[in-house]
Symmetry: C2
Subunit: 110 residues, 2 copies
């Protein structure tokens, strides 16, 4: 990791992106992020769960308990309509941010 702080700032974007396609539960989200980033990004569960509650409280995602025989109960989160808007905004914000950083850290010739 470049810096653990970066992870924090991008956490919401990652979660919203992952629950966009289909509802997912917390543990699955943490594993997905770790796997798809090839270990570059890693979530501490003590950070992830409170973050999920926060996103739900803001109305961006909605959780639902699912009980299945032979499995511990899971809470699946899906993206709300409001969350979809936020996700779109965060995506473009992310692009803007990356472009801004690149403009400054490269292109240094002045």
């Amino acid at each position: 990791m470049l810096d653990r702080e970066l992870k924090k700032g991008s956490a919401e974007l990652l979660i919203l992106s992952l629950v966009e396609v289909r509802p997912r539960h917390g543990y699955e989200i943490s594993k997905l992020i770790e796997a798809r980033s090839d270990g570059v990004l890693k979530f501490n569960v003590a950070s992830l769960y409170p973050l999920l509650y926060r996103l739900e409280k803001r109305g961006w995602i909605l959780g639902r308990w699912v009980e299945k025989a032979g499995q511990r109960r899971r809470r699946y989160y899906r993206l709300t309509r409001e969350g979809r808007k936020v996700l779109a905004a965060q995506r473009s914000g992310w692009e803007e941010f990356v472009a801004a950083i690149n403009r400054i850290t490269r292109a240094e010739s002045a």
Copy 2:
């Protein structure tokens, strides 16, 4: 801004990049970042100055007071040899990080 947290994580990379070419003072750095990012990134002095001290303490940059008639004294920071190494590492770390985020937030088809 996507999130104010992201700024923090990239702050070191930005500063090191800016003092790479030539020594710069704190105020100049904050103005440069704001201008070159078209206002996307903005530094609070309460974050910037402590960060400069921290980078100096780590030996990545070196500050020097410069007094000039008709100007308030300024502290110019230059990149040290050690800082140059760190900058290279942070640059590649940044690329890796961006790639990881993009892999997760796009490519969502599973």
